[in-house]
């Protein structure tokens, strides 16, 4: 402490919202030349954390991460060193560590992890695969006629479960699987789209799901397992059926169709809090908010770029979107303004095709891009917190999913990668 006590000093009051790391809220004389690491040492000293117990902290001044020394910060902001500086500190997120990669036969276009440990991937080889944490492929669900572009867990208790997959063959299949006897079967086939299914999202209550397709429609389906096929009036379909569709599948029709989009719908996501609120984005450059109960397009927000991915955070209430440009845009879906982007995150070099909020933190967000990189963002920081390489630089990342402490990513290199991310639950709870 003595060694670092020379040079100009600033009175700093450290506060935190994480109670387990709380220290007395008194101003501490701090050398102004200290950076994050030095400040972190101070907190650890006060907390009397030593050795293994030492934790890294990040420091926020007025909602912004401190990335320079205190003196530089004060100089930049033109602030006096005389006043007491209030600095909030949070436990740093540790860098994600790659765990393992799961080999596929073809491009991995859709990934989703389940809370309980199963991983679901859809691939361009028309198969849906189930994986366990040991990187073993437990099930290969075969039935699609085109590249699987979207997967969605329905229910799972570890061994048995149901899931949905959408593919370029314009159909959504609901699957039932059981690890116990290593069996799987198609529960029903959702028919109605005339273009490839790009995205599937299950609502909060789990009774409905929505699908976005390149035919510019969003269709809402129930998750009730039908016993008989819904009547789907299509003469051509019946003739095709002989060749392509297995007779034993139970067909299902959508309960409603949302047709406001004028281009392919590339992303749909339900609000985790409201079962009837759906967000969608498409090639018509719009991000739309829907009330599916009434099939009403509540608000439409426009930007100049194609929307490739959407995710809604229940913690921050913000909608993150990935576009056909290297920018991630954050929207406040409640605002009425049609084109106000709340914040943009730039750092990628190519299209951002997938975004995923941290399930626990209201600030953390991950994105995957065609530049082959996965970036982890804290929206309070200016740049990305961490940049993870999925594979080769030129290999696109098609899909990512952040679930608890696991970050899944699938891409052009036929791999699904798993990164271990520090669980932010504690921080959120704090």
């Amino acid at each position: 402490m003595d060694a670092i006590a020379d040079g100009p000093q600033v009175q700093v009051k450290f506060i935190t919202q994480q109670r387990q790391f709380a220290i007395p809220e008194t101003a501490i004389q701090t050398p102004a030349r200290l950076r994050r690491y030095g400040l972190s040492q101070i907190i650890n000293l006060v907390l009397q954390n030593e050795g293994e117990k030492q934790r890294p902290f990040d420091f926020l001044i007025e909602g912004e991460f401190l990335r320079t020394s205190l003196a530089e910060y004060l100089e930049e902001k033109n602030m006096s060193t005389e006043n007491v500086l209030t600095v909030e500190y949070v436990e740093s997120m540790l860098p994600p560590t790659p765990l393992s990669s799961y080999e596929h036969d073809d491009w991995v276009s859709a990934v989703q992890a389940h809370r309980l440990g199963g991983f679901l991937t859809g691939s361009y080889d028309n198969h849906v695969r189930l994986w366990n944490k040991q990187a073993e492929c437990t099930q290969i669900l075969t039935g699609h006629n085109g590249a699987v572009k979207a997967v969605q867990w329905l229910t799972s208790d570890g061994d048995n479960g149901t899931l949905l997959s959408g593919a370029l063959d314009r159909s959504i299949l609901a699957w039932e699987y059981s690890h116990a006897d290593n069996s799987h079967s198609v529960l029903y086939e959702c028919r109605g789209h005339t273009g490839g299914v790009e995205s599937i999202s299950l609502n909060a209550t789990g009774d409905k799901f929505a699908s976005g397709s390149t035919d510019a429609t969003i269709k809402i389906w129930t998750t009730i397992i039908p016993t008989v096929s819904d009547h789907i009036e299509d003469v051509t379909e019946t003739r095709k059926k002989r060749k392509t569709v297995k007779e034993d599948r139970v067909l299902k029709a959508p309960i409603s169709s949302l047709n406001a989009h004028t281009g392919p719908v590339s992303a749909v996501t339900f609000s985790p809090t409201s079962a009837d609120t759906l967000y969608s984005g498409g090639w018509d450059h719009s991000v739309r908010v829907w009330d599916i109960e009434n099939s009403v397009n509540i608000t439409t927000k426009n930007c100049e770029k194609v929307v490739h991915a959407l995710d809604y955070s229940q913690h921050s209430g913000l909608l993150a979107s990935g576009h056909a440009d290297p920018v991630i845009r954050l929207w406040d879906p409640r605002s009425e303004d049609s084109s106000v982007v709340k914040q943009t995150l730039s750092g990628h070099q190519n299209w951002v095709t997938s975004v995923s909020w941290s399930p626990s933190s209201s600030y953390m967000l991950a994105s995957g891009s065609y530049d082959g990189l996965i970036k982890v963002w804290d929206i309070r920081a200016k740049g990305a917190l961490y940049t993870l390489s999925h594979g080769k630089a030129t290999k696109k990342v098609f899909s990512i999913d952040w679930s608890n402490d696991i970050l899944l990513s699938g891409g052009e290199d036929n791999q699904m990668k798993i990164h271990k991310v520090q669980d932010m639950t504690e921080r959120a709870e704090a």
């Binding site: 006629n145 085109g146 273009g195 390149t214 095709k240 490739h308 056909a324 696109k396 052009e412």
Partner: protein, 801 residues
């Protein structure tokens, strides 16, 4: 006249004796001449005085305006009395003649008659002035002086009275006048020695000889002189050979002549001057006439003249000076001003000569010691070539300025200076004062023209040959590409995934998606044939089925007609059918291009080698082929259907022709000015088209404007291979063999008055590597997004967003 009488009276007695004088012998020649000259002088003097008086009179006249005080000379008379002038002149001339006569004949007239005649003259010439009378009088009264007074005793000088003189009474005795009995010699004025040899000396008036009078000898002479006390006063008259006794007056004249005095004793050359005008202020005015009225009233003449000027000013003929007028300063050359070098106001282009260097310390006559050269330096300086010397002098020291010798180099130095100035002409360099920014046309910033593609997003890898042609399907989800590896591939645009590959047996030169969203069909030009492919799986079963039926429909029709040799519609083999090929159209020559009509029923093919059937239009639903042109003008490069109207564009090597298909006529010929057209695209609105050429040019034609290019853009370094308009955004692009793709903003306004706005917005450099001198081969825009897709000879296809 009465006023002048007393003077006359006074002079009359002078004139009166004139006839009496005639008795006197003819004066000697000398004597005769002298009085004449005297008379002349007097006359002149009189004239002079007259002139003076005349002048006075004139002066007075000028003073007294109209008062007629004209002078005595005839010219004045003539002026004043023009009607009588001639007469007057004549009269005066007569007077003169008379006067002359009087000189010789005066002896016949008595004084009264002279006076009378003079009076008569005066009467006749009523307007004759006193002065002329006076003239005559003077003449009269001088002439008689000679003859008359010869016999009179010479009056003592003291008796001389210039004004009135008493003359002795004429005594009318016999001797007094010899004129009656004297026989005068009439020989005239000849040298008398001509008669020396004759006994006579001449002839009298009757023609009788006048005999030489007898002359005594010397003794007689002597005796006579002794006898006659007056003999020394006599003079010999050669004419009559007698001695003539000189009168006292004659003697007086001789004496005066000898004394160099004026012969006439009466003449006083120093008469008192009458001062008509002097510094003296006279109490009484010269004229008692009252001041005329006109002195007190404004002059009408002046008023007239002033009004004339006023009128001229009013009419603007006389312009008053402007208020700001500053009279020019007199310019003097300040000889002694040493502050400025400029001798005078300079010419605009004058450039002052550069000043010479000022002398420094070492040029002083007494430089400080450190400036003086050492021995070595002097030696070195002397050895150096003249041109190499740093200075053309050596510093020298003198004790005093008076010791400084004359500067020998002066002329040389001046000469070199002049030479320098002459041989190195000073040139005024006109710097262009133009802001380079202002020369750049005012174009909007590319930043404001977004969106346009800027960066590479997706690469489509898989082809193993040059990708000659690409096409995006109307939904914007799929892209087809045809390559030299004899394959056609279909790609998912959003991911770059190759969804299908069709292996064909020839190089694929052109792939085009059918423009209709109801029919999914891909036309592929491959060698001598055109294939129509229905890509399965990509489209919904409904659309696929519809397309299938659409493609099949034609086969039923074709069976009826006889096969057209130029284009044979054929069924594919089952294997090909499995792959997705539905129809083959076999042509006679290799097909270079396929293009669709906007409705998706007709498509046109270009086979440049097929001469007249190079361009064919095929109808898909009926499987029919038409040959629109009986004869083709030039080698057809590209064809294109108009996006809205039944028009057809045909690009040959140099021209683009627009045909109306309904009326079957040529609408317009565009003269491109390029040497070889490579590509053609029509603006989606149909009023503009662009062409690319192998000579690096891109020409934009406004079909409403003219047949010449509206703009010609030459930005590529190599041959342009392909040009394309975006269907929605105001963008167009070109690609060339240099591997670059250039993107332009090309806004076409609905307002017909506004010309299209063309702004280069982006150059994508080295998009494709050059392989065998080929770079980027084809560009295509995404139908809905501002994305550009380009294919190249390096086997790649790239999407830019």
């Amino acid at each position: 006249m009465p006023g002048t009488r007393p003077t006359r009276k006074a002079t009359v007695p002078k004139a009166a004796p004139a006839p009496a004088k005639k008795t006197a012998p003819a004066p000697t020649k000398k004597a005769v001449v002298a009085p004449k000259s005297k008379k002349r002088t007097v006359e002149e003097a009189q004239d002079d005085s007259d002139d003076e008086f005349g002048e006075v009179a004139i002066d007075m006249a000028s003073d007294d305006d109209d008062e007629d005080m004209d002078g005595d000379d005839e010219s004045d008379d003539a002026d004043d009395f023009p009607e009588e002038g001639e007469e007057g002149q004549d009269m005066s001339a007569a007077d003169l003649d008379e006067d002359e006569d009087e000189d010789s004949e005066g002896s016949y007239m008595d004084g009264d008659s002279i006076a009378d005649s003079q009076e008569e003259l005066d009467d006749e010439d009523a307007e004759e002035e006193d002065e002329s009378d006076f003239d005559d009088l003077v003449e009269d009264d001088i002439d008689p002086n000679f003859g008359h007074n010869l016999n009179e005793p010479l009056a003592p000088e003291s008796d001389y009275n210039p004004i009135v003189r008493e003359y002795p009474e004429i005594d009318p005795v016999y001797d007094s006048d010899s004129s009656t009995e004297e026989n005068d010699n009439t020989v005239g004025n000849i040298p008398m020695h001509w008669y020396d040899d004759y006994p006579h000396i001449g002839y009298d008036i009757d023609g009788k000889k006048i005999m030489r009078p007898a002359t005594g000898d010397e003794l007689d002479k002597f005796l006579s002189t002794m006898d006659d006390p007056d003999s020394w006063l006599s003079a010999h008259n050669y004419k009559d050979g007698q001695d003539v006794k000189l009168s006292a007056e004659e003697l007086e004249i001789i004496r005066r002549l000898e004394g160099n005095r004026i012969p006439d004793a009466d003449y006083n050359p120093y008469e008192d001057q009458v001062e008509f005008f002097s510094s003296k202020t006279e109490i009484m005015p010269l004229s008692a006439a009252p001041e005329p009225k006109r002195r007190f009233i404004p002059s009408k003449h002046e008023a007239k003249r002033i009004m004339k000027i006023v009128r001229a000013i009013r009419e603007g003929r006389i312009v008053p000076r402007k208020s700001g007028y500053v009279p020019p300063k007199p310019k003097y050359y300040n000889l002694w001003n040493d502050s400025e070098d400029k001798p005078r106001e300079e010419h605009v282009m004058h450039i002052t000569a550069p000043k010479m260097k000022l002398p420094t310390h070492d040029e002083s006559y007494n430089p400080p010691a450190e400036y003086l050269p050492t021995e070595e330096e002097i030696k070195e300086w002397n050895e150096m070539d003249k041109e190499d010397r740093p200075k053309n002098y050596l510093p020298q020291k003198y004790n005093a300025l008076r010791n400084v010798p004359g500067y020998g180099q002066f002329i040389q130095e001046r000469f070199e200076r002049c030479l320098d100035l002459y041989l190195a002409p000073r040139v005024r360099k006109n710097r262009l004062n133009i802001d380079p920014e202002s020369l750049i046309p005012k174009l909007p910033s590319p930043r404001d023209l977004q969106p346009f593609p800027t960066r590479l997003a997706i690469e489509f890898l898989g082809h193993e040959g040059r990708v000659r042609s690409i096409s995006v399907d109307p939904t914007g989800l799929w892209m087809a590409s045809g390559s030299d590896d004899k394959t056609v591939r279909i790609w998912e645009i959003s991911t770059g995934r190759c969804m299908a590959t069709y292996h064909l047996d020839e190089l694929v030169t052109s792939v085009v998606w059918g423009p209709s969203k109801e029919v999914a069909v891909l036309a592929v030009a491959c060698g001598y044939k055109v294939g129509l492919i229905l890509p399965e799986k990509l489209f919904s079963p409904e659309l696929t089925l519809h397309s299938e039926e659409y493609l099949k429909a034609g086969f039923a029709n074709v069976a009826t007609g006889e096969p057209n040799p130029k284009a044979q519609w054929k069924q594919p083999t089952p294997a090909e059918f499995e792959k997705g090929i539905r129809v083959w159209v076999h042509l006679q020559k290799p097909v270079k291009q396929v293009t669709w009509h906007r409705k998706g029923d007709y498509f046109s093919t270009v086979a440049p080698d097929a001469n007249n059937s190079a361009v064919l239009i095929h109808q898909l639903t009926k499987h029919q082929t038409q040959q629109p042109f009986k004869k083709n003008k030039g080698a057809v490069q590209r064809v294109m259907f108009h996006p809205t109207k039944p028009m057809f564009f045909v690009a040959t090597q140099r021209y683009v022709r627009q045909y109306n298909l309904q009326r079957q006529e040529l609408v317009k010929t565009m003269q491109t000015g390029v040497k070889w057209i490579s590509s053609l695209d029509v603006h989606p609105a149909g009023d503009n088209l662009i062409i690319g050429s192998y000579d690096k040019r891109l020409c934009w034609f406004d079909l409403d404007l003219s047949s010449k290019p509206y703009k010609t853009l030459r930005y590529h370094q190599q041959a342009i291979r392909s040009v394309a308009y975006h269907k929605r955004y105001p963008l167009f692009a070109s690609c060339a063999d240099d591997g670059n793709v250039q993107i332009f903003h090309g806004m076409v306004y609905n307002d017909l008055l506004q010309n299209p706005l063309i702004v280069p917005v982006k150059i994508l450099k080295n998009v494709h590597q050059r392989v065998d001198a080929l770079g980027a081969l084809c560009v295509e825009w995404h139908p809905t997004q501002p994305w550009l897709i380009s294919s190249g000879a390096d086997h790649t296809i790239k999407l830019f967003s």
